[in-house]
């Protein structure tokens, strides 16, 4: 069986047809070739596949393409605007918040969710560490990731 759907991915309308059981992450990576979204564990633990659906971070390995019919999807490829990195991407770069980079797209998407949820608030380290619980990094030890998110929240709150 196949299912037809339409969605917006990084601002562009997409009409598609796929198997009923196709996961969003499969469609993004294999059909749309948006390979910035990674598959780490495939069991909804590691958070590498995090994308935004209607502005909220969701694990794209645990949602069917059919379920996002009519939704707006943002992937890591959709963050930079006109060649300018998103403040969160920039903060990861400035703070050396990555080593191998595998978890980074999911970390960045999740981190933006943290700042969004606390819009206008002063973020603290404890909150960031707690709300990063759905993203695993197996090399850096989180220290610089947390630093980057705190730095980005300053920039994002100022520009909001």
């Amino acid at each position: 069986m196949t299912v037809k759907f339409s969605m917006t991915v990084n601002g562009k309308p997409v009409e598609g047809e796929t198997e009923d059981r196709t996961l969003l992450v499969q469609y993004l990576r294999e059909d749309m070739r948006l390979t910035g979204t990674h598959v780490g564990c495939d069991t909804s633990q590691c958070g590498c596949c995090t994308v935004h659906i209607d502005g909220k971070p969701v694990k794209s390995c645990t949602i069917l393409c059919a379920q996002v019919d009519g939704c707006e999807i943002t992937t890591i490829e959709g963050l930079a605007q006109d060649g300018e990195l998103h403040p969160m991407q920039n903060a990861f770069r400035e703070n050396h918040a990555l080593q191998c980079g595998f978890c980074t797209p999911g970390m960045v998407m999740s981190a933006i969710g943290i700042v969004d949820r606390h819009e206008g608030e002063e973020l603290d380290e404890k909150t960031v560490r707690r709300e990063l619980e759905g993203n695993f990094c197996r090399c850096t030890g989180y220290h610089n990731i947390v630093k980057a998110i705190l730095a980005a929240s300053q920039v994002m709150n100022k520009s909001a």
Binding site: M1, V3, E19, D20, R21, L23, D42, T43, S44, Q45, G47, T50, K56, P57, V58, K59, T62, I63, L64, A66, Q67, D69, S110, G113, I114, R117, E131, E133, G134, N135
Partner: protein, 265 residues
Amino acid sequence: MYEFTYQKASSIDEAKSFHSASEEPKYMSGGMTLLPTLKQRLARPSNVIDLAAVPGMSGVEVTNDQVTILARTPHALVASNPDLKRALPALAKLAGGIGDPMVRNRGTIGGSTANSDPAADYPASIVGLGATIHTDRREIAGDDFFLDLFETALEDGEIITKVTYPVPDRAGYMKFPNPASRYCIVGVMVSQKGNEVRVGVTGAGACAFRVPEMEAALADNFSSDAVANIKISPDGLNEDIHASAEYRAHLVTIMAKRAVAEAIA
């Protein structure tokens, strides 16, 4: 995943008619348990019936004596609703501790309740706060809802529409989470409303249960000390690589103590 037919229902009636017309149907709410189960080929439904497009199934309503949570309300909304945080902070805390932020954006109270996972959080609140489960055809008392491992009082094709909680005088929830999955190794919800005290436990047994000895002791003296020496038997409790039955039994007392302390604070 094995193949299945995906169906998006636009009403409860349509969901039920999809259900009765399929060989091995499964309702899906947020899919946070069902999809991982399908991916591991632990289930093979012929039809997955998505309830997400049924209107009017998500939201929280708080009155002086009751909290109503519609079945498809995601955990993130329960955790952040300001009225609910005021009326029943222990429940907001419970919802805010399920999985992680991404899971909380998708997973729902109805789905979690219907699934009766032995390690899920919500079941502790259903029995520990004396909730009522409302379905498309009846009301089921929380005490009668969970029957066994992944087994509830729901009939074939029955759909949870909302869960209502009486607002207690005070309540507290404490869990000892598995550090990787955040599922409960043991979670305890303690509440007091007038003379009635409830102690609801999840994670320890095949499904959520109450601890009458602790409830009686707390009704006499609502303090952590009252439960500190009440041990529950490890017989029949869950046992896995994370915790033995004896350890889970021990944790029930510890979490109950801490939940009471939180309720008093």
